[in-house]
Amino acid sequence: MAASNIEVWQLGTVVEVEKIATDVQRVVLEPSLPRKAEPGSHIDVMVRIDGTEDRRSYSIVESSEDGTRLAISVLKAPLSRGGSVFIHSLLPGDELEITQPLQNFPLRVGAGRYILLAGGIGITAMINMARVLKNIRADYTFVYAGRSRAVMAYLEELQEVHGENLVVHVDDEGTPLDVHSLVDSATEDTELYMCGPIRLMDAVRRTWTARGLSYPNLRYETFGNSGWHDPEEFIVKVPRLGLEVPVGKGRSMLEALEDAGADMMFDCRKGECGLCEVRVLKLEGTIDHRDVFYSARQKNATEKMACCVSRAVTSPTGLASEASASGPAVVTIEVS
């Protein structure tokens, strides 16, 4: 059925919460306007952070046939913007505003072969797809990579369901994922669906392109929440508007500019559409481009950035602990 992206907001009642891996909380919701969730779909959730409401997207991991129960599983990411901490605070009986299932990552039935690739908590986007591929007896390999077994949610049940179709890579067991051999296993009629950290997805994307495989057969979803660097607080300046605004670790540059009264244009808020583009006039530090709108060439040029997801940092390695002691990064921009 055609994917729907019409937002219908409804109430979701928390009926179960359960810790299913280190820092991963599974939350089962009963929506007030149930609708069946297609594989690849997600819900948007209004989260409360420091008393203000904000919106986050979470993949639907499980859904009953009639859509009356659905589950999301969320990794607590203390360094990120705070949505996950809110989700981890939920208790049975709590009510929150959620959308009906939204679809940006549809699974196409009919490919010759499938590879599903999940990195870490990205597993949440792939579980429903894998279930459908198994049910229709598709030719599929389900690859699940993580740092250690303790943080890999759903691992045991996936092994039970998918048997030999599931290939597991665990960094601390010395069996890390080798992106090159994974992509080498793809044929011309293989569709690869992936969800995971930006480094993994970028490596797959580059290898996929280098191998000359069909780019539209590479499917991925990003909610714009993964970066090359840990988030640092930085300063954004807009000389024309006379603004100098600190961007906290838990806020996006777009949000900080909006908070300061700038009239900003944007749409997707996840680094896909390019509408929130700002021009970089001056930079002290490095830009952590977290979008998928700009090409590598454009990112290296550091002339523009997608302010909904991308940030400025000082750390040369990406680790927050190695951020420059001499002060935060400063990016001076012009807005549309």
Binding site: M1, A2, A3, E30, S32, L33, P34, D66, T68, N104, F105, P106, R108, V109, G110, A111, V132, N135, I136, Y215, P216, N217, R219, Y220, E221, T222, C268, E272, C273, G274, V292, F293, Y294, S295, R297, Q298
Partner: protein, 364 residues
């Protein structure tokens, strides 16, 4: 949990249409490298062929601003370009080129629907694609079998598809609507037998030792030059849920054993009907008349097609008028007669399918 109560019954004037089924979207000859637009089961489709000749059905609305892709052009091996801003999609509905940017938005897709070409028709599946098993395409093998010859056309009928199904499941109307060609009074005088199972309904009617009406007399004389005399006539109507009706029709020299199974002294035709809902109040009615005699005569093929064209034109006028009367009299109900048994079983089967899809909602 909210429980939405729906009401429906076989006496609804018009029914909704199931989605987890194969519908005929077009004749195979209609699909070319130039995209065409056709709405099937409420969904506008862009239909075209790839360079390799594979049939493609995409939603006829660009992901960007919903401009109809069918107004665009095909490119490369399997692509189609939106006519408005030049966004290009492949046959799977994935964006392969986006203007004025160096990357492709990963969300940029248009729905692509499963397609099967079989029996000279292009079938599409608009429901859950995981259930789109090509084995579920209804048998219409007479359309492309060596033992049958014939041709057909498409009628764009301004009525709910159920009204066409009703029309074909009860052929007593032939006596009144088609009096100059295939109608005769024995139709409403003769008995008929109705049977059904989970997916089919069959209505059989035999008329023995009657005068052949003009259409059938001509056909008999094509096979038996100079034929005079009385005939046994049959109509065996088979509905395959939810949109196909094949009608085994013919006449044979009276008393030569056609009813018992020997049709050698007669002429046999199959009317192949596929009725595809377009909207609640319109449908695409694909039909063909196939015969199993004088297979090499293009003249007879054309004569039969044109003859049936005339007959079905009479139905079309009535169906349009019936839908208009339904719309003009929303407070009047349908009543049913014994002759409606076939059509009522059709409604029951469609209703069950709608229920299984959780979509049992009256449309009128």
């Amino acid at each position: 949990m909210t429980v939405v109560r729906t009401q429906s019954s076989t006496t609804n004037k018009v029914l909704g249409y199931p989605l987890n089924v194969w519908y005929v979207a077009a004749w195979d000859k209609e699909l070319t490298r130039k995209p065409m637009s056709r709405k099937v089961a409420g969904r506008p489709l862009a239909l075209y062929r790839t360079e390799d000749g594979k049939a493609v059905a995409l939603a006829d609305a660009c992901w960007h601003r919903l401009a109809p892709l069918s107004m665009g052009k095909t490119l490369g091996k399997d692509q189609i370009q939106c006519p408005y801003h030049g966004i290009v999609y492949n046959s799977a509905g994935r964006c392969v080129s986006m203007p004025a940017q160096e990357t492709i938005n990963p969300s940029a897709t248009v729905p692509s629907f499963p397609v099967v070409e079989r029996h000279r028709y292009v079938w599409v599946w608009l429901g859950d694609p995981t259930q789109a098993d090509p084995e579920l395409v209804p048998d219409m093998h007479q359309l492309d079998s060596k033992e049958w010859a014939g041709d057909g056309e498409t009628i764009h009928a301004p009525c709910n598809f159920q009204l066409v199904l009703d029309n074909l499941m009860d052929l007593t109307h032939e006596e009144f609507i088609h009096s100059s060609s295939i109608g005769q009074e024995e139709l409403s005088e003769s008995d008929f037998v109705v049977t059904h199972d989970d997916g089919t309904v069959t209505v059989s009617r035999w008329m023995f030792n009657i005068e052949a009406p003009p259409f059938w007399l001509k056909n008999m004389r094509d096979k038996f030059p100079g034929f005079e005399g009385r005939v046994d006539r049959w109509q065996i109507i088979t509905f395959r849920s939810p949109s196909v009706i094949n009608i085994d029709v013919g006449v044979a020299k009276a008393g030569t054993g056609a009813f018992e199974g020997d049709r050698s002294q007669g002429v046999n035709g199959f009317v192949m009907n596929a009725i595809t809902p377009e909207s609640d109040k319109s449908c695409h009615y694909f039909w063909a008349f196939m015969r199993n005699y004088r297979l090499d005569s293009q003249l007879i093929t054309t004569q039969l097609r044109d003859g049936v064209h005339g007959v079905f034109g009479e139905d079309e006028a009535m169906l349009a008028a019936q839908q208009a009367a339904i719309d003009a009299n929303p407070d009047y109900e349908f009543y049913n007669l014994n002759i409606d048994a076939g059509g009522m079983w059709v409604r029951r089967l469609i209703e069950r399918q709608l229920e299984a899809e959780g979509r049992l909602v009256p449309v009128a």
